[in-house]
């Protein structure tokens, strides 16, 4: 299979969703539990894809570096967020490359950003606590052309769910239960 991606299966799924939109509905969720200090653990909730449940029996730990009052036992929330975006961009890129019949030998993504903790610390209300910008670099080796890779990155920007969650306005609905 080219790039070890089953493009026939993707084609079948795309056509299934074209005919039955509900099969494209994917609901996700996580539960986070504070452990101690800056350390938390996340467990993934079951997904519903179409009309059926997928069991998501995974969990991971989040921490902060010691300089930011943690014990440096795991990546921090910003790194998970960037990793989640990069993972989504990578799978979108690879599936697209396969659809374009491009064999990819190596794909690496770099994402960098700088935020100002003055926002988090409440020292300056003018400062955005989040990342004002993120830079990403695709390192690609394969049998495609420069132009094809550029088109693929345009497609990633158009279609990657996590990229678009960060790029677009998201409605965040909060609630307190105590």
């Amino acid at each position: 299979m080219l790039n070890n991606i089953n493009i026939a299966g993707l084609s079948e799924y795309a056509n299934e969703v074209k005919e039955q939109n509900i099969q494209g509905k994917a609901s996700y969720g996580i539960n986070l539990n504070w452990e101690s200090g800056t350390k938390t653990t996340v467990s993934t909730k079951n997904m519903i894809l179409g009309e059926h449940k997928l069991i998501r029996d995974f969990n991971f730990t989040i921490d902060e570096p010691t300089q930011l009052l943690g014990v440096n036992s795991a990546p921090n929330p910003a790194e998970y967020m960037l990793g989640g975006m990069a993972g989504c961009m990578a799978v979108t890129f690879m599936a697209g490359a396969t659809a374009m019949n491009i064999e990819i030998n190596q794909l690496q993504l770099e994402i960098d950003g700088e935020l100002d903790l003055q926002g988090f610390l409440g020292l300056n209300p003018e400062i955005n606590p989040g990342f004002p910008e993120l830079k990403f670099i695709f390192h690609v080796q394969g049998n495609g052309t420069q132009e094809q890779y550029e088109r693929l990155i345009e497609r990633v920007i158009m279609h990657s769910p996590n990229y678009n969650t960060i790029k677009n306005k998201v409605k965040l609905i909060g609630e307190l239960k105590s």
Partner: protein, 436 residues
Amino acid sequence: MKKSYQGIEEKRKEGDIWFNDLKRKRSQGPTLGTNRYESYNESTKAIHAGQYDDPVTGALGTPIFQCSTFYLNESSYEAIEEGRGRDEMIYTRYGNPSQWSVQEKLSALENAESSIVFSSGMAAISTAILGLLDKGSHVVSSRDIYGGTYNFLYEDLDKYGMSVTFTSPTDIEDIEAAIQDNTKILYFEALTNPLLKITPIEAIVALGKKYNVRVIIDNTFLTPYNVKPLDLGVDLVVNSATKYLNGHSDLIGGTVSGSRKLVDRLWPQMLKNGGSMDPHACFLLERSLKTFALRMRTHNTNALALATYLENHPNINKVYYPGLASHDQHELAKSQLKGKNSGMVSFEIEGGDNNAHTLLKLLKLPKEATSLGGVESLISLPYNTSQASLTKEQQKAIGINDGLIRLSVGVEDIEDLISDFDQAIHSIFKKQPNYA
């Protein structure tokens, strides 16, 4: 449509293609391109569906494609690249015309889009379960299921980080209470062994929909002749083909049928577990299936006649048969099986296991052997075969009473079967039978 890129090669070359451009859709099969028989009745389907007549020699009937591998060509290379190897002949574990032929016949009989044949019923069952489960999944099944399936669920799921809860096969509240947050499959048998309880399929399907979980039914004891679980909304149906489907007690095999989408998901699991069916076994199964409806009609009518005879016999304490008004679930049997019932009969003989053993020795026609669904009647005692791992107390707790006998009624002449039982029971009790 076979290829994902059909008609979009130009667009693909230009690099301006996305997933919405891909053309391949799921279709029934895989198929050898034989005629379709969906609109026909059981016997016609059983005879004609899937049969591949060789266009070169004009030989009538599917040849035995006894080969392990196939010439590779442009089309097979393309299929490998695209990941649609199930639709091409590449290697017999992946697919073989003998498999496709019998699979198409099974799909016609099950009203399924797709089927896979396996080297045994347990290969089919374990592949179907593993193929659908995710890491951390849970299965709800019944205590009464076939021992091989029970062992797989009870002894092996653990190793994969999965779990199981066993419930009653008939009590919907009990089944619903066992459903957990990580439950992925409800796995039941359409008719249980050996007490012939009927699983309320439609109620279980409704639970599946309510909790977004899949339903698998093992239909070995009833077969698609007596009930078609897929028509009732079940996701996958599995069978031990060793039993009624083949019907001649001369091969080991299994089947899975369902939507093309789900059966395609089991195919890579089958490749990894390796339980593919040999072409010669496929030939035997396909040939045997031609008489499937014919055999099932006789199994059913013989079983009802024999069950009625046994129920009226003074030395038989109890008869378990869904077609009898005395069966606990006779009303459900009438609606679910539409008067077709089953070829299996269980009964308790007066005098317990001693007399049961004697009866088996005195009978001339039914063979004392495990298994079922053959043209010859087969008879055995559950206490020392299928339920042998349980203590006497445990057996009693699930209704395996002293003297319980399980009978797979064959297609012998019913007069001969009844007179054989008559002489055997008479010899034990040394008195005249009460039937006219």
